[in-house]
Symmetry: none
Subunit: 212 residues, 2 copies
DNA sequence: CAAGAAATACACCAAATGGTGTATATTTCA
DNA sequence: TGAAATATACACCATTTGGTGTATTTCTTG
């Protein structure tokens, strides 16, 4: 049984969701509030639910602020943001605050139930447009362009894999039927190409590349 | 009309998708290849499609590498990663490489068509489990709550930083005015706590944690 | 207070690493 | 064809790392 609370200021929408979600017998709407402040009172008296369905536009404390507080005080509770807006800044803020999912209010009733179950099983329901915003943001922060393959030869790439797998020179040599000394030679070449001088530096470069 | 190319090494899967997607009259599968190398030949002779359906596990050039090259040479082409795996590192790498969507192969045929149309309209279809990975990553990078510090003591955390900075035991000792031998003792304790046994394994763990 | 964790330090050892040489066979390509 | 790159291998060396002991001091917590 998925215990769920609703936080939504518009009565019709709130009661609509309550009715709708209670139709499914895996979900129980334990309470529905019109403000975040009331929600917190409810959570402390009734206990934290599995999921809070959170409107982003609330009088008083905003849905984003409330999300942050929920994740602080009740980290086990997932927050599903439900909104009519697709504003980029709000989406990113809600996610930073710890929202577990972010979907639009025009979602079909049946889909909403499916997404709540998805959420409860560890997934994050996100509408495609929200996903696009997130993807772009992530790509922007990670420099977009590929970091190149450092002009490594095929053999050198194999050696890189061996290292990353935690093998020693000798073990890599055994794996590819060459001597450990040769493996070492390769590694030193690789170090020069990557401009590093130890395993640790090597790992830092390689783990942020698409070499692996 | 959405022009689409498929890059997938398993023939049955490849032909299955081709047949299936051609059933929809808004989509035209202009070509299907079994390797990234062939795909690039096709793209240069037939012209870039709107969407490439890309398998991640390919012989030769990987789907991730290919995605990066497509975004470089044909930025207008969207890449939809189709995979059976949900491995965190691969997901993030594919997104960094510029993937526009990332969905699982077990997606229902009707849903796949819907997702391709979503993609073409500017959304990013992402399966809920992939979305969860992305959300976590984003939250982690923006000061989200720590997902485990492995019970390291404050001193041990300092040592971790020293290692990640590429210092040797002795250098770390000098930095903190303790002996190199002590630093080593700390490292060995840390290894036990992280359940690793070498710098390489250590880096793999630490770089995916919020210890740094 | 006593037990335990945390931080410090030293000894000893085998193995791995990093750095530099030299050398040869093969392949690639201008 | 001839130079450059690639892949192979061995020698020698100092340093680093991983692993195991033992031991002392300080701090924390039941």
């Amino acid at each position: 049984m998925i215990k769920l609370m609703i936080c939504e200021d518009v009565k019709d929408v709130r009661e609509g969701f309550r009715y709708l979600l209670n139709l499914d017998d895996e979900i129980r709407v334990v309470a529905a509030y019109s403000t975040a402040e009331e929600l917190f009172e409810g959570m402390s008296s009734l206990g934290a639910p599995n999921i809070v369905l959170m409107d982003i536009e609330l009088p008083g404390m905003s849905g984003i602020e409330a999300t942050g507080k929920i994740k602080e005080r009740y980290p086990g509770t997932a927050v599903l943001i439900l909104t009519i807006f697709e504003e980029e800044g709000k989406i990113l803020k809600a996610i930073q605050a710890g929202a577990t999912g972010y979907i639009l209010k025009n979602t079909k009733p049946g889909d909403l139930v499916a997404q709540i179950k998805t959420l409860h099983q560890g997934g994050s329901p996100i509408s495609p447009n929200v996903a696009r915003v997130l993807l772009h943001e992530y790509q922007r922060e990670h420099g977009g362009k590929s970091h190149g393959d450092f002009n490594l030869t095929p053999r050198e790439k194999e050696i890189v894999h061996g290292i990353v797998d935690g093998l020693t020179y000798r073990e890599i040599g055994e794996a590819y039927n060459i001597s450990g000394a040769t493996v070492k030679k390769h590694i030193l070449h690789i170090y020069k190409k990557l401009n590093v001088g130890s395993k640790v530096e090597f790992m830092k470069k390689v783990m942020n590349s698409d070499l692996i």
